[in-house]
Symmetry: C2
Subunit: 757 residues, 2 copies
Amino acid sequence: MNWSINEHQYNKNRTELNGNKFLIGNGYMGYRGTLDEHGKEHLVSCVMSGLYDKVGNSWREPINAPNGLYTKLYCDGEWISVVSAEPHKHQQSLDLKHALHQRETIFKTNHGNQIQIQSERFFSLDHVHLICMKYSFKANQDCQIVIETGIDGDVWDINGPHFKQITNGTNGDLLYVQALTQELGYQLTVSEAAEIPFGKQQIVSSEHSIIRRITVDAKSGKPYVFHKYVSVFSSNDPVKDCGQEAFVSSLEALKKGYPALFQAHQQLWEQRWQQSDIEIIGDPEAQLALRYSIYHLLVIAPTHSDQVSIPARGLSGQVYKGAVFWDTEMFMLPFFMYTNPEIARNLVKYRCHTLGGARLKAQEYGYRGAFYAWESQDTGEDACTLFNITDVFTGRPMRTYFRDKQVHISADVTYGIWQYYLLTGDESILLEGGAEVILECARFFYSYAYFNKDKARYEILDVTGPDEYHERVNNNIFTSRMVKYTLEVALDVLKILKQKYKKEYNRLVDKLHYQPDLAKIVEMNEQLYIPQPHPTSLVIEQFDGYDKLEDVSLKDIKSRVIHPNEYWGGGNGIATGTKIIKQADTIAMLNMFKDQYSHEVKKANWEYYEPRTEHGSSLSPCLYSLVAADIGNADWGYKYFMKTATIDLTGESKQYVGDLYIGGTHPAANGGAWMSAILGFAGVNANEKAITIKPKLPTRWKAIGFNLCWRDQKFHIKISKSVIEIRASKDNTFTSLFIINGKPIECIAAQEKKLIY
Amino acid sequence: MNWSINEHQYNKNRTELNGNKFLIGNGYMGYRGTLDEHGKEHLVSCVMSGLYDKVGNSWREPINAPNGLYTKLYCDGEWISVVSAEPHKHQQSLDLKHALHQRETIFKTNHGNQIQIQSERFFSLDHVHLICMKYSFKANQDCQIVIETGIDGDVWDINGPHFKQITNGTNGDLLYVQALTQELGYQLTVSEAAEIPFGKQQIVSSEHSIIRRITVDAKSGKPYVFHKYVSVFSSNDPVKDCGQEAFVSSLEALKKGYPALFQAHQQLWEQRWQQSDIEIIGDPEAQLALRYSIYHLLVIAPTHSDQVSIPARGLSGQVYKGAVFWDTEMFMLPFFMYTNPEIARNLVKYRCHTLGGARLKAQEYGYRGAFYAWESQDTGEDACTLFNITDVFTGRPMRTYFRDKQVHISADVTYGIWQYYLLTGDESILLEGGAEVILECARFFYSYAYFNKDKARYEILDVTGPDEYHERVNNNIFTSRMVKYTLEVALDVLKILKQKYKKEYNRLVDKLHYQPDLAKIVEMNEQLYIPQPHPTSLVIEQFDGYDKLEDVSLKDIKSRVIHPNEYWGGGNGIATGTKIIKQADTIAMLNMFKDQYSHEVKKANWEYYEPRTEHGSSLSPCLYSLVAADIGNADWGYKYFMKTATIDLTGESKQYVGDLYIGGTHPAANGGAWMSAILGFAGVNANEKAITIKPKLPTRWKAIGFNLCWRDQKFHIKISKSVIEIRASKDNTFTSLFIINGKPIECIAAQEKKLIY
């Protein structure tokens, strides 16, 4: 079985893409897949999760820590690197099973010597502040080798520099770089312990950096190996003295040594895969792509804190401001809920933690309740600007309505909390802020809605749905249905609290002065207008007036493009006046509420919207895949599944919108690939009562095997073309209900079921 | 006293501008101020009022009739014209008093001869189908002169050609060109009788044209004079056979002869001026500009039909589709109501006539009642397209929201009807469709409005106010206040009908099924949200969120302009995200409801918005002038008055938006100049009960004298710095009430009052 991603030659033009492709991380930090000798111009970046900084009027963005892996090699004075010369042989690899990055490169020097460099690195999952590196070299002629390795504080930033008062120095045998963030004055310390059993060492420090210079007379054919233990702490961490913590961490790592540290890391990763892996029989390409997608979700998943979540570009850089979008709830959370509920809980708690920011945003726009940030950072205040994109034709900032009109975000947040609660049964989430968030989101929508007296209905006006090419529309099907969902959930939450947690119910209703809103929310829930399928075509109009837009083909609209990076939406975009949509919108709604629409309606809408969707967002294809599977056409969905699952392997995605770089990894697509496979092709659909399974495997898949967590229970499920096998884990505590193609099946601890379907 | 406009030399580059400047017409037709020898490339145009045509997918636009004034002169084979040679001397003149166009040009031929050409033309006010021309020439050496004169059917069109089945021929001594319009197949006939007492005549016809070729051996120094009588009829006129009518008309004119025809025309014009003129003592420049403005209103005023109105560019061409905008009600109607109420009635009736189109538009957008066309032509269906402007940067059509969001048009129509009724006392207008229009406009607004339950108020959302640079805004002060006005008027109309015309009331309420809407309109009128002055600054926010826009100076925003014709509004315009507004919006509202706001509020808003107004519309400056006068700062307003009054004299106005030519005359500014002088500086403000006068003359004006019609009475009023003289006409039938600076003064027939104020 293939657990490895490789590139077998070095290609300068792929440095940026490989930075994403070979990303490693542990949820606390992410590290781009650059090589040891790369610098800021190659977008080396050690991104800190949840630590943001703002300089002047530029966007707030996450901080890149000083690079403790900085390493350069000189042979007889000649810099040996992929930057300065074409390597003779090169391989870069990623071991998905253990989140281990490796490279091996052979260079020929100007003097005919041959130098082999090998290195590997991992970001410890056992101790998330720790980065470990092993580096070795070998020359085939005697020569003088100089190694420079240390901490480089001159980091790549989009809107930096983010550090002030940068100091560096040594502490015993340790090197360190220490700095304060510009905006909030957080202290950040990076320390490095090294185990270098050869050569003479000199310490060289400059303004931002401190390095060791090791000089060794290398013998022909002899391998020289050293290890580094880099620790990163900030004063945003729950520690007393982050400098001290970093020192202790590096020293302890040095004491334990690389093999032991890797072993601890490896064990945890193997446990993770036991929970998360999917086996696909009959389709090795899909197998690798899906595993790779899961890998990407796991390297960025926060295990260390419930006050951070996963940004839209994961931990692959500062793109999209390191901000958390609806992507997390709608595309990543399902994977975590079904496989790693403790991580899912962290993601959900982050929204409770950021309720204050959402309240401020609602107030800013004259509403009540919680209007969540479209681009959420540490406090939940909205990092999204009103002028997000630059017009390529005029170079001017372009007004977009992501921040103020994409109100569905508050419904998406509600959806995340509620789904987490339903699938895990974890009522504590409601008591620890979840209920409050949901009630505030419902209240926000009440204050946002208008009543159309002439038509005796509430309407949700002036919104931007997922299809961002059509801004400020009325009665967008996705948004309106999600608003109704929020109202329904708010009423359910209140019922649950009232029944089971009367005291908490009273406390919350009092605290929020919610009593007067109760009847309003009941009324709005009954009278909210939801666009309905057309009586004959069954198509649901995406928003008021969509039907009147120009019906142009994707091919034709592409022929109108003048500038390759021009934005298709906004006031004057080429899609704005047409039926071409950026991404699934009606289809997204039909996926979420699949039980409430007939097969015919879902099919009619899939067929109508599919040729009109540009998939300008990486969130789009997986939804078409999901609904294709739902309507029994798995093979229609397969190409969308593969597009989604391979996005970070191929690097084929939009890299620019206007002059804005939007490259990086695509965790929402990674999550979407998992959704396509499990919720789509395997046909899993759980609620609080049962796990429904209605498989529709693509033709080329012989079988799929995976694990599921559901309400404190764990199952291994294997689905072939005609058989479903369910193996309940031994620690099951109660009887679980499956519904297999409509038939109820009960399953208790340690039981195995085999069913022909 | 100066009644004449002149240019003393010929400038090729001013051909287009002079076409506007020297416009003549009679309300049935307009004729651009081009010269006899000009052709379609010089925008020669004889625009027909109310006769439209559409070719293919192009805009519908008014029709240019075949040019019956076409005349060329050759001397010994050499074409003598401003087109082919620089004239030796040239003068073009317009006699404002009689709407008479004259030219006199002296040419030197290649052979050293000197040719003088004189011509004059008028569009008969006595018989609006008739165009008369006198043409004379003189050579100072013997030579052969050839005159070509006839009817040229190869006319200038923006979106033509508008004719099919063009035929031409002779009928006895008459020439004619006859054609059908492409879209609706209206027949149009142009016939020409000529009185040419010299030379040999030949008839030459080509595909579109028919001309007489006159050859004469001209004697040195001898003047040769001829006359032409051109008649234009269409099957849209209330005649049986428009061809026959044209022939009869030309023959009768020939019989009467030029002097008699001119005399009849002249008399009517002198009567008009008796009603319409304004005398300004102490400011000859303002005097001429104001008279010129009034001239422009009079040449385009429809006297012949109550089914046409005045287009935004008058009868100066096909610009703006020859469509009628809010300009008519808000900027032109006041002049006519106060001076020519019978013409005002025609303008108002036009809106009754086009109610059907307004109903269709409301239905198209899912509303009830009457949503009047933003650009109204013959049927009242909206000629405005959704993509009105071309983006200069991409060459693509740009989506604007004039058509679907400038809903204030239905309130403006209501305002016109109601003001006409109040100032004339003509109740018949209500019975002949006016009441129905008003009720349907109120109903439209009810169906358009939304109720904000959270704030317990109706709101008017998603509109574009007069300031078109900010589209799709909520709670625009101008729009919302005008909507409320419409509701108030609808309730007043119902009260009047119920009291005085019970039968008509019942018939109308039944016909419209209006009973269920009555209570709704009462409620909405009580609960409609109207933005209020800020408690401390007293500024009224133009719309929700205006306060948060970038506050940039006009100078700064101009420095951002990249392309001279770029559109400042729309999705990405340079004004869109700023506080810079295209034209008076809040100030327009304060002018209309001046009695309802304090001096302090008006002053605060004038001072706030004035530096933020671009005056990108010619409708804007007069409103600043009006409110400046109202707050007692006539001299602040004077520059805006002069800007407005001279717009068609100087030609200094935007000629292009995107690549769209918007040149032409500016009747709304012409009307605005009158409003500034009479309603502003003279301080006239009449309602159904009294005429209030609160003069605030600009410093340089010693006195102003003018006539006023009010409820079947006529007055001459003269206002100097401290004295107001009122002379009531002899045919007054009842006692009129004046309120002079707050004091009531009664005035009866033939009475003269002299008051110190």
